[in-house]
Symmetry: C2
Subunit: 241 residues, 2 copies
Amino acid sequence: MARVICAGLGPGDPDLMSVRSDRAIRAARQVAYFRKAGRAGQARAIVAGMLRPDAVELPMEYPVTTELPFDSPAYNDALAAFYDGWADRLAALPGEVVVLCEGDPFFYGSFMHLYTRLRGRAEVQVIAGITGMAGCWHATGTPITWGDDVLCVLTGTLPESVLVERMQGADALVVMKTGRNLPKVRRALAAAGRLGDAWLVEKGTMPGERVVRLAEADCADCPYFAIVLVHGHGRRPEVPE
Amino acid sequence: MARVICAGLGPGDPDLMSVRSDRAIRAARQVAYFRKAGRAGQARAIVAGMLRPDAVELPMEYPVTTELPFDSPAYNDALAAFYDGWADRLAALPGEVVVLCEGDPFFYGSFMHLYTRLRGRAEVQVIAGITGMAGCWHATGTPITWGDDVLCVLTGTLPESVLVERMQGADALVVMKTGRNLPKVRRALAAAGRLGDAWLVEKGTMPGERVVRLAEADCADCPYFAIVLVHGHGRRPEVPE
């Protein structure tokens, strides 16, 4: 049976990947990773300088990214065929393959679509990673949750009314998958009364890291993987001033 | 100015700490960590075998844990004095000290109370870690969030009615700080219609790890750091069956 190790890479700084992922990646003879067609790929960039010179690389290129609406049947079919095909290829590989996955593989990770398809066909080990959102809250230099704070993680792809309602019901907020959804996310935060406390973090822990107040950001020019954060301010032991 | 490095330890398995934390801990000449009085301490246990033989250890023993209600003025005062005192001691140390922190220091971590007190008095560096909740969802072998899933992180210390409402408004759920709150958490999940999908994870990624359906768990005997999880089942590309 094939052996597939999915190595969580963490938020981007290679020093923030786990000792176990670091070890697996440096020893790998076969390395697979997702990327947009024609791009070097973020996952591959994170492990630059770590791979064995003789490692065989298997770039898994998404057939579509933003050309089709993500909720269209055509998008679904293209992605399903893509994951089916790569599950077949990985299951047929001789020996062990390490699949790179940014952040934590079990937290909105693309690898999960291979994981469900490889069950019973390969021995799969998944190595946890620091999430991208954690890299972003560390980039702000401020803790995200205290005491009894409720943290809500949302995606910018949700309807605006859902965003507003969930934003009102939480103390700390994380919004993933912003990109072209950023103007909607900003309107929802304003409607929920949280825009003044919101931060936009691009490339958290990576070169080019940028932390700006969302109210002052240019929403027309936002990378897909930028994250919006609102910090919690929960119960903490302090001497009253 | 003193130099304080807070090393996130991750969920418990030493192999899951970051390369940067691993390096900082192995090089440390002074190491501080929180623990209950009279206990060896979970943070110290995670780094067993990693410290230099000549490392000076500074156990920071909580003055109270569960003897006083966490929302009482006496509890607040005791904790505030404890953090004030240790911030003073760390700021006065010669050279660098590494403070150990389970999970991610900025996610409900005790170190945050030292962090706010050390600002301007020490050069502080915080190293992110894999959260305890991530260790727990990996222990279940099932991804926590897919597609547009909303993830809500709650603490068992919240009022039951708040728990029910937040549980109804999310796809994936994490409940921290369960312990003696577990019967309340279970009632809230049942009221929200989510009990059948809930898992109780104790000691995720550590020796003695245990994953059980919450509906079948013994709520009278639950460690404080056990976590309750409900997985999301969001949008994913599949060929219709």
